[in-house]
Amino acid sequence: MNFPNSISDVMAVLSANGLRFLLTFIVTYVMLGLMGWLRPHSIRYVARVLFPIGTLVCLGVAVVAGVHLAKAQTPEVMVLPLGLPDLPFHIRLDPLSSFFLLLLGLAGAGISTFAAGYFRSGEGTAPALLGLHYHVFLASMAMVILADDAYLFMVAWETMALSSYFLVTSHHRIPEIRMAGFLYLVMAHVGAICILLCFGVLQGGSWHFTFDAMRGASLTPFVGTTAFLLALIGFGAKAGLVPMHVWLPEAHPAAPSPVSAMMSGLMLKTAIYGVLRISFDLLHVRLWWWGVLLLVLGLFSALFGAVFAAVQTDMKRLLAYSSIENVGLIFTGIGLSILFETSNLHLYAALALSAALIHSLNHAFFKSLLFLVTGSVLHATKTRNLGKLGGLIRRMPWVATLALIGTLSIAGLPPFNGFVSEWLLLQSFLFTPQIPHAFINMLVPLGAAALALTVALAAYVMVKFYGIIFLGQPRESSLVNAHDANWLERLGLGWLALGCILIGVLPQFALGAAAAVTDNLLNQTVAPGSTVWWIAPIAPEQASYSGLILLAGIVSVVGVTFVLVRLLAHGRVRRTAPWDCGYPWQTPRMQDTAEGFGQPIRHMFGIFFRMERDMPLPTDIVPRYRIHLEDRWWRGIYLPIARSVQGLANAISILQGGRLSIYLLYSFLTLLGLLVFVL
């Protein structure tokens, strides 16, 4: 047996038994979580031994999912002998779930490696508990993606919400973190109720809750619309779509960094998966205005997230708002795809959907990377406040270099991965004038402009993020003691950074994986003109892009220039104090701050914020400048709802008199009422 043959044999085995392997991996996750209890207080055992095994399991998930995508065969289904009597759990592996499992495995491997080196003893909950929640969280996300009936889906979905809630509140002694966790739990359950109702509508009178029954149900456009809107609210609350985004900037900073990375990089993607599963697979009716709705919500979320990210002073809140932005971009792609699909422009629908899928994959890589970077910075400096950081590129060269890759990727710059998906999205926007709705096709190009604005604003945000943390002079004297990340952390960061580069340089593979999904959902694939060298999603003479040649070209020109400059001139360098226009009394405090960097944005997008500002008076002896920015949605929607719920509860509490005789009267009246019904 020669070598290539054995590889194809392994692939054949993997693709034939994909679900069995995946189930084994999910069980392994749970086992890993439970094994922590053998030595519950040993961080060395739980983190350094169990988490690396988790990494291997993640890689296994990625391999199985990747093989299934590459073989692009028929969906694999299985009925588990678990669940309620007569209601066994169904699971299913098809290209859509494989794509998201691939994402989960690849990014999860990096996060688990990092987490192995990250957790310290004596911080937050006991190591064993942390390990249990962490691995159950991973297992439940995989189960959400595999589920093929509403029961299993909801069980997995709730397990995911609960395990992540416990992870968010692992530093539960801090009151803000408990509050953030509570808000997250409330939003997660509002979303879950909507999803539950959505499944109730989707079964279409058959009262069978397997996804197969839902695929077969024939729904009227009105019922379909109800299901779609419920799904949009339910999954939108999880994904952080404006205005259901309020939990995100609270919960992400509260969680330990690997957990923030998992929530932002992976958990938000399960919501994207849910929207795709319901709108492209389970629902057969699709109306064009759903696409418009998603497009508008997506673009608004994207712009909103980018604007808010630009004015943040907490590095993890900044990234959380940036997640809202990226989720907005993904929803924009999905909306565009629905719009094209309902206008019978199937090729462009596939293009937009590919853009959304690849952006999901990219976001899993670069946002996880950046959240993990904030973890390293947090450990090294003990602060999340951008105003107390600076100059870390000299103290933490490894983290700084890997963070630079993430920064350039998320800023959407070629030849990194963020650019690929944004380019595909812009390409699909170009075809909107062909949509046969007169007003839509004039307004949608403006959406492309909003998209360009968002993408460019994201670059602004990331320059702020990277520049203030890593560049310049340290803003606090304590920063000279900052230390670089340990080798496990570097390995995890490096894996994710490698992913950012590889997807950017060789987008063919990501496009191929997305093509398997679009082929399955829309019977249409893009990129017939793509080769090893470049991608050309529609036609080579229309538009093409090659990250590989771009990178090679820039590197070779840089190399040649460097050598020529050294040969023809010289390479002498003299180190001196900075020139700084001849002003020698500069201090690090004179650098631009995070607030200063946000100032143009506050000025231009003032309508987005509710701003409180205390300006110092000329007569103040100790002048203090304070600025507080608030989300308008809080006072606009959430506080009124909270107040009315409180009021309603107070009104109902009149019933609760505290006297036994009254309560007995209630029981009696209820009985009477029931008797009336029965008779």
């Binding site: 360009a452 203030i468 560049l471 070209g553 400059v565 360098v573 900075p578």
Partner: protein, 317 residues
């Protein structure tokens, strides 16, 4: 045949690198004439580069490798952009590497790297400049994208060589949307290349600087590369404008022999001379805007491009 097209590609890159400083010099000369000053000689930019390359680099003590690598990255990216934009011929092996939207991405790369480098030393002016540059950048990008949208509506492509071949086909009337788009493009070009009315390339007042304040800490060969990259950026923008709005003389596919190449070089130089004069005229006739008027300026450019789009769509309707 393949070898010939690679040869043409390298001729184009070489020409771009060689004459980009000359183009900046020509604009400076026209400005001097228009302002009744005695003009510096045309080859002054080359003298400057030569002087800078032979000086010793005075590097701030805390400068990180990012600061030292940035000039090379800027230069490399802009040379690659010059290779992609069809300024002489359309049959370029490199042209398929990036379409016009990806070119915007390349320009954004340059902007981000320069801003990061400006923040590296941690001086007040550097970070100020970085912030302003990124602000101008994110306002200019939507306008530029709308211009490309216009071009796409006319020819159904975003790859620049295909655009040139599409637009050099004879037509009886000029589409009115082209005029809107061209004006919008010129406005973006001025903003993105740090020229009046957004920024003044000749200013010595640090508080009003954008581009200049970002490169205050650069010296010698680093400064030379940054300056060269900036002039290449201006050259690239000009060539992109020619490809979109004035593709006359560019040797198209199939008609690109030696004579056509010479003709294309002559046409390019002619267009650059005219474009330089026009730019100098605009710069001399307008005043620099306050930094917070810049959004209005760029919004106007954006609206013009959108108007062009609507004009085209309404015509088709």
């Amino acid at each position: 045949m393949r070898g010939i097209s690679f040869l043409r590609q390298f001729v184009e890159i070489g020409l771009a690198i060689a004459i980009a400083p000359l183009f900046s010099g020509w604009i400076a000369q026209c400005r001097a004439w228009l302002q009744s000053r005695s003009a510096p000689p045309l080859w002054q930019p080359y003298r400057m580069l030569r002087k800078l390359f032979h000086k010793e680099v005075a590097l701030a003590t805390d400068a990180s490798p990012l600061f030292r690598a940035t000039p090379y990255v800027l230069f490399g990216t802009m040379v690659l952009a010059a290779a992609i934009i069809p300024s002489l011929v359309t049959d370029l092996p490199f042209a398929r590497v990036a379409d016009s939207i990806a070119l915007i991405g390349l320009f954004a790369t340059v902007r981000v790297f320069l801003s990061l480098a400006a923040m590296d030393i941690g001086t007040a002016f550097g970070t100020l400049g970085a912030r302003r540059e990124m602000m101008i950048g994110f306002l200019a990008e939507p306008a530029l994208l709308m211009v490309l949208f216009n071009a796409f509506l006319l020819f159904g492509k975003t790859a620049l060589p295909s655009l040139v071949e599409g637009s050099s086909a004879p037509r009886s009337v000029v589409d009115p949307s082209v005029i809107f788009a061209a004006v919008a493009f010129i406005m973006v070009l001025l903003a993105e290349n740090a020229r009046i009315p957004i920024d003044n390339p000749a200013t010595h007042l640090e508080l009003t600087m954008i581009h200049e304040s970002m490169i205050l800490e650069y010296s010698a060969r680093h400064l030379a590369l940054v300056e060269w990259a900036s002039s290449l950026k201006l050259f690239n923008y000009a060539c992109m404008g020619f490809a979109l709005f004035a593709p006359w003389g560019i040797a198209t596919h199939g008609a690109d022999g030696g004579a056509a190449l010479l003709l294309a070089i002559a046409a390019l130089i002619g267009k650059l001379v005219i474009a330089g004069t026009v730019l100098a005229l605009i710069e001399s006739l307008s005043a620099k805007l306050r930094i917070f008027r810049a959004p209005e300026y760029l919004a106007m450019s954006f609206l013009l491009a959108v108007l062009g789009l609507l004009v085209h769509l309404l015509q088709g309707a």
